[in-house]
């Protein structure tokens, strides 16, 4: 789960890390009022869960309240990479002298949190990593021991000898680690972390991604979820215990197991089609789950055929068949459905589906090819 910049900053401020003063606005008038309250120049920043909002025009400087109102009006409602901007953060503009990148990620390979620090701040760190990796210092932290002051110093000294920067950055890195561990983050970053001309340091931007597996014990973070930023179909699927991701193709896929679901999608593409979605109905599925899954898929007008690919292990094929029959009864399904149900209780499932309009298939390859034919051939 992603949280907004302004929310991540709240967590920083709770731990004593200085960030430019600011507030969130949902209207241009609110933005104007906040700018008035702050005084001086402000920055109006789109709060959306995508990177590169600066390049997309989602971040603007305003000299005062009137301009803040104007800029906010332009940014609110803007579409950035498919997401509509519903909120802007209006913050004091700070007089930047130096910009740094500091971040902490969960590193899969070394199985520990890993700090990333660079003097090349304010730009895309992945690009810096790809083009000039020598400008980046990485330091893994053994979570059994936690981060030690010497590690914070080493990271800070690697980019600056300025005592103000070393002190401010050490504190910021310490807060990053604290937020990371206490919030079950998978990524937390400040880009840029800046030194202003008066020798102070500020966390000007903030990014925080949370491990979905840990949300059950992070009520404060879970409450930060911005439903406007989430796909409603994905949310509905999650509620029902399904895992769903919308794609752009014509073949609706309904599979048990994430790996098999991906392999099914890939096979659709291999035979010249395009999957309309990733959908994993999970283990020990009950008929209701299948009905919900069908509903979500049928909402997509691009879908031309539906493909069931079930390998029964714990999932029983007869349960899926029951759900399938129930769904075709309840919902007005006009699309062709190919059903490949194999494994546990497959004979029973076959009997149940006999006489229905469903197109049976034995292998994955056969099932995908039939679905593509029924959808009108390869796209």
């Amino acid at each position: 789960m992603k949280v907004h910049e302004y929310q991540a900053k709240e967590l920083f401020v709770e731990r004593g890390l200085p960030v430019p003063r600011g507030k969130v606005a949902t209207t241009a008038e609110e933005a104007e009022a906040i700018a008035k309250e702050l005084g001086g120049a402000v920055v109006v920043k789109a709060q959306v869960h995508v990177g590169g909002r600066g390049k997309a025009g989602g971040v603007k400087l305003a000299s005062g309240p009137a301009e803040a109102k104007e800029k906010a009006a332009a940014i609110l409602g803007m579409d950035i990479k498919g997401l509509t901007v519903e909120k802007v953060l209006v913050t004091e503009a700070v007089d930047i002298e130096e910009e740094y990148y500091i971040g902490l990620i969960m590193d899969r390979a070394s199985k520990q949190p890993m700090f990333i620090v660079s003097a090349a701040g304010g730009v895309d760190i992945e690009q810096v990593a790809a083009t000039t990796p020598e400008k980046i210092l990485k330091l893994g932290i053994d979570p059994r021991y936690g981060v030690k002051p010497f590690q914070l110093r080493r990271l800070a000294f690697s980019v600056s000898q300025d005592p103000a920067v070393v002190k401010g950055m050490s504190q910021a890195l310490s807060v990053l680690y604290d937020v990371f561990m206490k919030s079950d983050a998978s990524l937390v970053e400040i880009n840029p972390f800046v030194k202003t001309k008066d020798g102070k340091t500020w966390s000007v931007d903030a990014k925080l991604n949370i491990d979905d597996n840990a949300l059950f014990r992070q009520p404060q973070i879970a409450a930060m979820r911005d439903l406007a930023e989430e796909d409603s179909d994905e949310m509905e699927a999650k509620e029902a215990g399904l895992s769903f991701v919308k794609l752009d193709g014509n073949i609706g896929c309904l599979v048990n197991g994430a790996g098999l679901a991906m392999a099914t999608m890939d096979l659709v593409q291999h035979f010249g089609g395009m999957p309309a979605n990733f959908l994993d109905i999970g283990g020990s599925s009950n008929p209701e789950k299948v009905v919900t899954a069908m509903k979500i898929i049928l909402r997509d007008p691009q879908v031309e055929a539906i493909l069931f690919n079930i390998f029964g292990g714990i999932t029983r094929c007869d349960d899926v068949a029951a759900g399938l029959l129930k769904a075709t009864e309840q919902l007005d399904v006009k699309l062709p459905i190919v059903a490949r149900l194999t494994g546990t209780n497959e004979e029973k499932a076959r009997e149940m589906l006999q006489g229905s309009a469903l197109v049976p298939a034995v292998t994955m390859d056969e099932a995908v090819q039939k679905a593509l034919e029924l959808a009108g051939g390869a796209q």
Binding site: R108, D211, G259, M262, M265, Q269, M274, F311, G343, D365
Partner: protein, 298 residues
């Protein structure tokens, strides 16, 4: 022969009185696994599925000599269950539970390693050595004794592949699902190393997916260290970047963890890469002739 589980496996099921724990304990026992105990705190002294239930794993180990544990407890309690099993001296811990917080796993991983135990999972289907023992939730009926090792980050995709092997007369030494989370206890390389050392394993099927770089590391390992043939398939070519595909670990981010990168690594390492699952068995047949192997090892 086989890897990790066999006839010497003495199994304790943590969470045996829960719905999933009870169901799969019975299934494992039916398969022939030596199920010796269950653990559910507060239900010590009861019986479940024909075995005694203990309050703690330590007691279960002391009373029954269990050496392997299979965990079916909710995600909030799974890391504690792993700690408990390892602390009690269990050698092999198989954690089926999905949804374990990743930051907990960073710490658990170090504990398991420090204590010299082995963890498989979490978020995995477990493993099966056909004809000997099954620890986890894989459907035993699709397996058959033989000489192909199967290792996979997936569950049902593994079944699909194992089923194809069996239908084509290719039995398995051990089939193991290592789990779909970003941090897991046993990685591809651990399994490859074990398969290479196992006299009964003559070829390996490796099923990877997008996310992380475990496949890339495995490729280097195969190139440098393995003599038996390995055939691979990687799922997730059509997954959009930045989106998790069901598994917490199945995500392409920052241009890393793509199918292309993994396939390239395998190809460079001389590992055959199947374009689709149904190509795996034919590809394997090119590299491995069970009849010839049988002759050689006779």
């Amino acid at each position: 022969m086989s890897i990790f589980v066999d006839n010497n496996t003495k199994l304790v099921v943590q969470g045996i009185t829960g719905r999933d724990g009870a169901f799969h304990a019975a299934s494992m026992k039916d398969y022939g696994t030596h199920l010796v105990a269950g653990v559910t705190p507060g239900k010590g002294g009861q019986e479940a599925g024909g075995v005694p239930v203990f309050n703690t794993v330590a007691e279960a180990v002391q009373e029954t000599g269990a050496n392997t544990s299979c965990i079916f407890v909710p995600p909030a309690f799974a890391t504690d269950a792993i700690f408990e099993a390892v602390d009690a001296g269990i050698d092999l811990v198989v954690c089926i539970t999905e949804g374990v917080p990743v930051n907990d796993m960073m710490v658990v991983f170090r504990y398991v390693k420090e204590r010299g135990a082995r963890l498989i999972g979490p978020n995995c289907p477990g493993l099966i050595s056909p004809g000997q023992a099954k620890v986890g939730i894989l459907p035993g009926q699709i397996c058959r004794e033989g000489h192909v090792g199967v290792v996979s980050r997936s569950g049902t995709l593994t079944y699909e592949v194992v089923d194809q092997l069996t239908r084509n007369g290719l039995g398995q030494s051990t089939c193991i699902g290592i789990g779909g989370d970003p941090i897991i206890g046993t990685n591809f390389i651990d399994c490859l190393e074990a398969f290479e050392a196992d006299p009964a394993t003559e070829a390996v099927l490796l099923i990877g997916e997008i996310g992380g770089d475990a496949e890339e590391h495995a490729a280097a390992y195969i190139r440098d260290q393995m003599s038996i043939p390995v055939v691979s398939f990687i799922a997730g070519r059509t997954a959009p970047p930045g989106k998790r595909m069901g598994h917490a670990g199945a995500i392409v981010s920052g241009g890393k963890g793509t199918v292309e990168s993994k396939e390239e690594a395998f190809r460079e390492a001389g590992v055959a890469v199947a374009v689709k699952p149904s190509d795996l068995v034919p590809l394997l047949a090119e590299k491995y002739d069970p009849a010839r192997e049988a002759l050689c090892s006779a």
